[in-house]
């Protein structure tokens, strides 16, 4: 394979693969902000095999979308030391993903200073949102790449100082005379360079020049208001060789591959976005499987994973990132469907806990729907719910939030803890150039939000459940599913009416009694098969009755109608068997308060109550309709 073919192979890797799965996660979040009609074309353009034709189609799809959803019209000037013209369409696509209608002005090759110093240039016009400068030492300091042909260390230092003077003069002049902000890129380390080892040692070499210039740029930005840094060097390190195309550099004086150009477009967009959209103010965190591994209410305080060993260290890192955001001025909020006393205890007693209960500006630890909790928190904090961003491991909860509050940003797309950590690290939700920069947020985003807010409103819980495409399979307890039944009997704490921890022989004995009915419910939804999540065991009782021995639903399946569906099936089978009535018991434990009123809800009559058990009866039996949103897969 020739060198060029190897380069080509690298370039054919899908965008973000070299950067890990998280690169894709950020892209998903970006695309989710776009008008729905344009998303497929945009996804295709940023996908595995981008072509210019796909980029063109994506731009057309965005331009063809509902004008209210396209975002505000925005003028951005791009200046570069190389030729941007051949990749203009890719950069435009990136900007349009802000989302906005970009009026992108690309200056001719290497006219950075001419534009920044000329008050008649477009960069000085009133409505220019921002000017972005991209430069490389390949064009501005080419001698640094050939240090042994370009004089000694003194000559190198002189060239470097004179280049810096030009940079400083141009940046300061623009900020003194102009109104719009200036975003300057750091210099990337050269992609193609000979004499790597010698150059690595040299004070006057290319690598040191890059480091020195970037250091000075940062210092300058710290002292000049409206001058901001876009760390293009960081981008180049992360994107790697696949972002560059040496043949393009030679043919078109433009160093990027198509993949690189698309990624750069998104990167530039990210750095322009803070001038349009305010940063999110609240990070809403789930607790179980988000702040620690495992479920507090099921695994127990000392079995959850949090600490310095894998995988607990991932959760530790998530907590550290959250604390860092808090110190950057982001409010933290806790929303968890668990027992508040247990969660408080975890924050108090787990030795590796980074966050404290007090770190959260608002907390909702209860069994309410999370979308309701979010609404209540927004009221409590006096903030719009559109300033919320959520990290939650549950597909179900994220989908529900998306549906009820489309204006809330859902940071992660999957439940894998590493994905969640990386999504939190790479999100643009809390982007700001400085911590007082929020005020810069302009009008455009508000209009866009208004146009959006119509959607999603009016969604109710039942519609949401229908949209999940839930499918239930109810089966008898039998040898094939006994192990799972045992596991559920031993683990389930919250929705568990009797918490009887039977052993295998006991389950077998119960099920062998003539007339006993044991049911399991397997749940699937549009995210996949969740396995068996509900168990209902009954044994014959005197007077042609059944007694419910065990009735439990896994906490990750609560709120889907699983318990009602099992009930409907039990009644159906019991009626067929000529059963007259059903006896239920509620045995309180420290953890099952959630299930306390369940038999009342079904319409049972309370027979007697002692501190250790409440007994109920339903007689006569009447057929019950199962929940309409739960399709019975086994009956189709």
């Amino acid at each position: 394979m020739s060198y060029l073919e190897q380069e080509q192979q690298k370039a054919l890797r899908p965008l973000g693969t070299h950067a890990g799965r998280e690169g894709r996660g950020h892209l998903d979040a970006v695309i989710s902000r776009l008008p729905e009609s344009a998303r497929p074309a945009v996804m295709e353009a940023f996908g595995k095999a981008p072509t210019w034709a796909k980029v063109r189609r994506a731009n057309a799809a965005l331009e063809g979308a509902d004008a209210n959803l396209q975002g505000p019209e925005v003028v951005v000037h791009l200046l570069a030391s190389f030729n941007l013209e051949p990749i203009e369409a890719a950069l435009r696509l990136g900007l349009a993903c802000i989302p906005c209608r970009p009026q992108m002005q690309v200056a001719p090759l290497n006219t950075i200073e001419q534009h920044l110093l000329d008050q008649c240039s477009g960069v000085y016009r009133e409505h220019n949102l921002a000017t972005v400068v991209l430069w490389r030492i390949e064009e501005l300091l080419p001698e640094a790449l050939l240090p042994y042909s370009s004089g000694g260390a003194d000559a190198a230092k002189e060239r470097m100082e004179s280049l810096w003077q030009r940079i400083e003069t141009a940046c300061c002049a623009y900020r003194e005379m102009g109104k719009s902000p200036l975003v300057v890129a750091t210099f990337p380390a050269p992609q193609q360079m000979s004499g790597l080892m010698l150059n690595s040692q040299l004070v006057g070499g290319a690598l040191n020049a890059v480091a020195e210039l970037n250091c000075r740029l940062r210092e300058l930005a710290a002292s000049v208001t409206g001058l901001h840094i876009m760390d293009w060097n960081w981008w180049a390190t992360r994107e790697g060789a696949a972002a560059f195309d040496p043949m393009m550099e030679q043919m078109a004086r433009q160093p990027l591959s198509l993949q690189g150009a698309l990624s750069l477009g998104l990167f530039v967009a990210r750095h322009v976005r803070p001038f349009l959209a305010p940063r999110r103010k609240v990070l809403v965190l789930d607790a179980d499987n988000t702040l620690w591994g495992g479920i507090l209410g099921e695994d127990g305080l000392w079995n959850v994973k949090l600490g310095h060993e894998f995988p607990g260290r991932i959760f530790l890192r998530i907590q550290r990132e959250a604390r860092e955001l808090k110190n950057q001025g982001v409010l933290l909020a806790l929303v968890s469907k668990s027992d508040e006393a247990e969660v408080r205890q975890a924050f108090r007693e787990l030795p590796d806990m980074v966050l404290r209960w007090e770190d959260f500006a608002s907390r909702r630890v209860n069994f309410n729907h999370k979308y309701e909790s979010l609404r209540a928190m927004a009221e409590e904090l006096g903030l719009g719910i559109d300033s919320f961003a959520v990290l939650d491991d549950s597909d179900h909860e994220r989908e529900q939030i998306r549906m009820f509050h489309p204006e809330v940003l859902v940071i992660n797309q999957r439940s894998d803890p590493l994905h969640m950590l990386q999504a939190l690290q790479s999100t643009d939700a809390f982007d700001a150039y400085s911590l007082t920069g929020e005020d810069r947020a302009r009008h455009g985003e508000y209009q866009l939000r208004e146009a959006r807010s119509g959607r999603g409103h009016g969604a109710n819980l039942e519609e949401f459940l229908h949209a999940l495409r839930l499918e239930a399979t109810v089966e008898r307890v039998e040898e094939g599913n006994e192990q799972r039944v045992l596991q559920m009997l031993s683990k389930t704490n919250q929705f568990n009416l009797t918490t009887r921890r039977h052993r295998l022989e006991e389950v077998k004995a119960l099920m062998e009694k003539p007339g006993s009915i044991g049911l399991t419910l397997r749940l699937a939804d549009k995210f996949g098969d969740q396995g068996i999540v509900g168990v209902l065991l009954t044994v014959p009782d005197e007077g042609h009755r059944l007694r419910i021995d065990s009735y439990l639903v896994s906490c990750r399946a609560l709120g889907r109608g699983v318990e009602e569906c099992l009930w409907a099936e039990l009644v159906k089978q019991a009626l067929k068997d000529g059963v007259q009535g059903i006896v239920g018991e509620y045995i309180p434990t420290a953890k099952n308060a959630l299930a306390e009123k369940f038999y009342n809800k079904l319409g049972f009559v309370q027979l007697e109550q002692t501190p250790s058990v409440t007994r109920y009866l339903m007689e006569p039996l009447k057929p019950v309709d199962p929940p309409s949103w739960l399709a019975r897969k086994d009956e189709q």
Partner: protein, 82 residues
């Protein structure tokens, strides 16, 4: 009649927004106004990405028509029609 699908032809027709009935012999740089040096640069990226090949410098100088591109691809073992 068997209709041949020609991926290179489709690519060029879409890329330059040509009429679908354009004759293969008319897909030549000097007859297509949009086929300037900038388009050439993008076209090479397009062909390389779509067909999964890389061109050397010498080859790039000989990609000025449908038939030249087809020959270059054939030399690399790429079949453009099925």
């Amino acid at each position: 009649m068997i209709v041949e699908t020609d991926r290179l032809r489709d690519l060029l027709v879409e890329f330059f927004e040509l009429a679908p009935e354009t004759a293969l012999g008319d897909i030549v740089q000097e007859r297509i106004a949009e086929w300037d040096s900038l388009a050439m640069v993008q076209l090479i990226v397009e062909i390389q990405n779509v067909f999964g090949v890389g061109f050397d410098v010498e080859e790039i100088e000989q990609l000025a028509s449908y038939s030249q591109i087809r020959q270059a691809l054939n030399r690399k073992g790429v079949k453009v029609s099925q």
